[in-house]
């Protein structure tokens, strides 16, 4: 009688396989550690030269002999643009998420969710192109000029000459870009609220808005905050659209004073000045130093956000995917 050969795999291959996949999983961790090491060593020169004043100073001079670098205006620019984008984007996103999870009829739900996800899929560079050649004119003529002529003399926020390529335009486009992120995660978090919560409120005679206020919001609050912080993380790291729209000021003048003045963010200064910086120069070290600051800001924001969101979605399949 013929013996049957079992094709079950060998135990040795099993062990090798386990080691292999563990290495593949560890790759992610290794990359993050390597990013820290590489950014630190390659920007060491600037920290040695400028010390803390790289964080607090506002001079930015790449002329050899009188080189001086301070990233404070760009750090401020990063937070100001991201902050304004959050102010505009978060309420709208929560509104969209509420519509998608509570109000919309079934057929609209899937269509609109798809549209929101398409918005998220449009590359940054295309938002930049659209912002530069289309949106800029509208925002300048319809919002900036009226605000400036009405309030420009009294409110410093609206002073300056509206040109269209400034902090305000960049922030609004940034808001448009983070809305899909925040909206779709918020929607998932709201869907994860057990329907018994809603039913209990409905049973008391609550209207849809009251149900939302009494049952959905308290239950999903920390997740919604997490979703917003995730949007903040994206806004902070956003590069191409900002680079095309913010007007690219450098040095002292890049400090955000008016909404209608050109500014600069950490990411846009890197993208703008990188082609001009020579390898190994102090200028290059300064740009990589900006990258390191951006890294620290982004990873802090992300860790907080992931922690909050994953806590809420832990039991919910799908969690948060980029």
């Amino acid at each position: 009688m013929e013996t049957v050969k079992l094709k079950g795999g060998s135990p040795i291959f099993d062990k090798i396989f386990k080691i292999g996949v563990t290495i593949a999983g560890t790759y992610v961790l290794a990359i993050i550690v390597l990013i820290v090491i590489q950014l630190t060593t390659n920007s060491y020169q600037i920290w040695a030269q400028e010390g803390v004043s790289f964080l607090t100073g506002s001079d930015w001079n790449a002329v050899e002999g009188s080189e001086s670098y301070g990233a404070a205006p760009y750090i401020a620019g990063t937070f100001v643009t991201a902050g304004i984008a959050m102010l505009i984007g978060v309420p709208i996103s929560i509104g969209i998420a509420m519509f998608l999870s509570e109000l919309a009829p079934k057929f609209l739900r899937s269509v609109l969710s798809f549209v929101v996800e398409l918005l998220a899929a449009v590359p940054s560079i295309i938002y930049g192109l659209w912002g530069m050649f289309v949106f800029r004119d509208y925002i300048r003529d319809w919002i900036e000029t009226p605000l400036n002529s009405a309030l420009g003399n009294n409110v410093i926020l609206f002073s300056g000459t509206p040109f269209g390529l400034d902090i305000f335009t960049a922030s609004v486009v940034l808001a448009i870009m983070i809305i899909p992120t925040i909206a779709s995660i918020s929607r998932e978090i709201m869907i994860a609220v057990p329907s018994s919560q809603r039913e209990a409120a409905f049973m008391l005679g609550a209207t849809k808005w009251e149900v939302f206020k009494m049952a959905v919001i308290p239950y999903s609050k920390s997740g919604l905050i997490g979703a917003s912080i995730l949007g903040l993380g994206r806004a902070v790291g956003e590069t191409m659209a900002i680079t095309l729209l913010i007007g690219n000021a450098t040095g002292q003048s890049a400090f955000p004073s008016s909404l209608f003045a050109p500014g600069q963010t950490l990411s846009s200064i890197i993208a703008n000045e990188f082609p001009e910086a020579a390898n190994g120069s102090l200028h290059m070290a300064a740009l990589i130093g900006c990258g390191l600051i951006l890294f620290v800001i982004a990873i802090t924001i992300n860790i907080v956000a992931q922690f909050l969101v994953s806590k809420v979605l832990k039991t919910h399949q799908g969690a948060v995917l980029a």
Partner: protein, 303 residues
């Protein structure tokens, strides 16, 4: 005893109260619907402008020729950029897909412990990383050590961006395979690795392909990391030690040129890019996601 007058009073209060609440409800519904419209208008405007400005530029020459001299009457085309983008997608997938799938297998099959949780957490963090930082990293690791800008540095940067997406979707789709499949395999005395290869990966195939296509759609539009890695040039691919061009990078360069012809070409490039990305997206939607409840996979913009 409640009198008739009191009862009428209560009724009046109740009516006032309910009409106020219903009115608030209606106002909120209106505002929320307004939010949705606000989000759709930019998308509509972007698509409209890309088609309006991009379609007139399209021609065979535009898609296949290298760019002409800056500001000259010969605008040329975006051939090298399209070639570069396709090559970058292919090469980054060479690293990103195997490492990502294996990482996903690790998280799903061997990751039910502290270490797995840590990896999962940092995988999610890496997925949300500013891509410009990843570009700087690839510049420091590859470009500085090799001494030249090249497609290799670009592929390294983009593979890091696609990796967490593939890892996560692989994990999610492997977890959807019923435990009984695994148990059936064990009952037959099959080793774990063979179960994963033969049974799990086959059952989770559509989820895996979805993840890969999502990550491809994501890196196709990445611009920021390319500035530091492939640099961009005007010629077709000429070697692994030379700078190459890519579609998003070309759009960026064209948008910065002060000529109307360059701007028009930028719109043309944007049309080609958005067609690639939208077809990937809609393809995924109709091929795979329709079978699922909702869409737990999401794509996002790049830096």
């Amino acid at each position: 005893m409640i009198t008739i007058e009191q009862r009428a009073e209560f009724r009046k209060h109740f009516r006032n109260n309910i009409s106020r609440r219903v009115a608030t409800d209606k106002i909120v519904k209106g505002i929320v619907f307004g939010c949705v419209l606000l989000a759709i208008i930019p998308l509509g405007s972007i698509l409209f402008e890309i088609i309006r400005n991009g379609v007139p530029v399209l021609s065979i020459d535009f898609l296949t020729q290298p760019p002409g001299a800056v500001g000259s009457n010969q605008p040329g085309g975006i051939g090298p950029a399209i070639q570069g983008t396709l090559m970058l997608i292919g090469l980054s997938s060479l690293i990103g897909v195997p490492v990502g799938v294996l990482g996903g297998i690790f998280l799903s099959e061997y990751g039910n412990n502290k270490y797995g949780q840590t990896i999962r957490f940092f995988n999610d963090v890496l997925a949300e990383f500013p891509t410009i930082v990843i570009g700087l990293f690839a510049f420091a690791v590859i470009v500085l050590s090799l001494g030249y800008f090249s497609i290799l540095a670009g592929m390294f940067a983009l593979s890091i961006i696609m990796l967490p997406i593939i890892t996560r979707t692989t994990e999610e789709s492997l977890k959807l395979v019923p435990v009984s499949y695994r148990e059936a395999g064990y009952a037959l005395g099959i080793k774990r690795s063979v179960i994963i290869f033969r049974i799990l990966l086959t059952s989770a195939k559509s989820g895996l392909i979805t993840g890969i296509m999502l990550s491809v759609a994501r890196i196709a539009g990445e611009t920021a990391p390319l500035i530091f890695t492939i640099l961009g040039n005007e010629d077709f691919f000429s070697g692994f030690d030379q700078p190459v061009d890519a579609l998003p990078l070309r759009i960026y360069r064209l948008a910065n040129l002060p000529y109307d012809s360059a701007t028009a070409q930028g719109w043309g490039g944007a049309l080609v890019l958005i067609l690639i990305i939208l077809s990937l997206n809609i393809g995924i939607r109709y091929l795979f996601l329709r079978k699922r409840r909702g869409g737990s996979f999401r794509i996002t913009t790049g830096g």
